[in-house]
């Protein structure tokens, strides 16, 4: 049996997923990316092989994704997060039409066509991007643990509004609320809603249609999910594997590419496409 791997080198975490040639998930691993991206990528690959007791050469095809996709030296092809999250989300929730990927620094919304093709996408490239970083800062300012902010915010009595567009200035608004004697829960709730506000705008701009699936590291934050569902007025798909959506999508696309390669049909085309993508200077 043949294996195919997807490696997602993100700004904080590097994750990998191994699928077999029938597209069944066989293994997944993850670790902190750290400063040396190549090493992180190699490490998750080795872990994959270890879990399955296979040698790296037994992996037929590797697709890399994430901001470090070009640093995965053993890749056959690199594919962007957006394409991969689309495919990954479809696999997790076949009814997915819209994907919201909330990362530490970037957030992205995708609208998928029936084929799974990314029909429209939008990246949060403005003030107050970086939902993850924003929550980290708020947590720091409030002296609470990042893991807890979501849960805490759910206990809010009267959420405190946070208006500033600048994530950094929003932080000082948080401080002002504390000064004014607002409870940590209420402030956190406000913070989550202020992020949700912007994420919703992002989702709307791609012309969101249900089902909407959350992916990315921050998607596990219950407070944010609640805020988003309230603002969007629909339930959201959240999977325990959602932070693996990128690696999963990469693995599945790797499989598709490998099969195309296998069939003589389009083989040449695929080759040239990969040749076409050199490591940028």
């Amino acid at each position: 049996m043949g294996y195919l791997a997807g490696i997602d080198v993100g700004s904080r975490m590097t994750r990998s997923v191994l699928v077999d040639d029938h597209g069944r998930v066989q293994a997944r691993t993850g670790r902190e990316t750290g400063a040396r991206l190549e090493a992180a990528a190699q490490a998750v690959l080795d872990e994959l092989c270890a879990t399955q007791r296979i040698k790296p050469e037994e992996i037929l095809y590797v697709a890399s994704t994430g901001y470090g996709r070009y640093r995965v030296l053993f890749r056959q092809i690199q594919i962007t997060e957006m394409t991969c999250h689309g495919v990954g989300a479809r696999w997790l929730f076949p009814g997915t039409r819209t994907v919201l990927d909330i990362g530490a620094m970037n957030s992205r919304a995708l609208r998928l066509a029936d084929s799974g093709r990314v029909a429209a996408f939008r990246m949060n490239d403005r003030c107050a991007s970086g939902a993850g970083r924003f929550l980290e800062r708020v947590a720091k300012a409030l002296e609470v643990k990042l893991e807890d902010v979501g849960e805490l915010s759910l206990r809010a009595q009267n959420p405190q509004p946070i208006s500033s567009i600048c994530a950094v200035l929003a932080e000082s608004e948080v401080i002002n609320h504390v000064t004014a004697g607002a409870s940590v829960e209420d402030i956190l709730c406000g913070a989550h809603f202020s992020i949700a506000e912007r994420l919703v705008a992002l989702v709307r701009q791609v012309g969101a249609q249900p089902e909407i699936t959350l992916t990315g590291g921050v998607s596990k934050n219950a407070g944010l999910v609640r805020a988003l569902e309230e603002r969007l007025g629909v339930k959201l798909n959240v999977s325990p594997h959602s932070e693996y959506a990128g690696a999963l999508g990469a693995a599945l696309l790797a499989r598709a590419r490998w099969q195309r390669l296998a069939d003589a049909v389009g083989g040449a085309r695929v080759q040239s496409c990969e040749a076409a993508r050199e490591e940028p200077a």
Partner: protein, 280 residues
Amino acid sequence: MLVAGVDVGSTATKAALLDENKRVLALALVDTGANVVRAAERAFRAALAEARVEDWDVTYTVGTGYGRYRVPFGDAQVTEIGCHAKGASFLFPATRTILDMGGQDTKAIRIGDGADVQDFCMNDKCAAGTGRFLEAAAEVLGLKLEELGEVATQSKKPMKITNVCTVFVEQEIVMHLARGCPVEDILAGLHWTIAGRSIGLLRRVGLEPEITFTGGVARNAGVVRALEERLATKLNVAPQSQHIGAIGAALFAWERAAHGEVGKRANGAAPRPEAAGGGN
């Protein structure tokens, strides 16, 4: 007679204590943190402790800094701009232009001989190119804020950093690191960018020498060097640059006291053993 000034900044709260001859008896600095009231009180107390005096010895206290509307601290409030003008021209009498870089505000101020504010400008509604911008950079690079300047001075060829947005600059830094670019070059680039931002403000008020650089960022040798390079002139930087706002506030307090005004702490708010002798 003693007077005090308390400057509640976005990141740090500073206090200064002066005697009747405007000599600085004590300076204190605490993190502002979440509770502005507490921070102001703590800084004030710290200054008192250092000078070994009690709060009723303080005739008059002036509060300043961004926290002043939420917590009017002391007997009167004056804007940071007024206080920095006052403090800077006290330490460097020839000062005509002041650049103050604090946590999330950057200000350029032009003053006359009387330390009178003639013109001023501030950065717009975003933390671009402020102290917070450097903090973010320090975090990403895993350095201490005060280390940045030192490290940057080792740079051979500064990296070009275009992002002034505090959130995006982190991504840009991460990317440069991923490309194996030396930390010192990234930092040198950052300092250069920040300098550029503030020069825009300085030009608005007119770069009249001497220029005095105040606020927390003034302690960063890298920024100072970048500014001096780009402005082709030396800057006045005081060791107590971070306290200049507080000192200015204290000087306003001194003027009020000199006009015979007496603050609430002094006139019997607190128990005063030798109240009878209290001749203020």
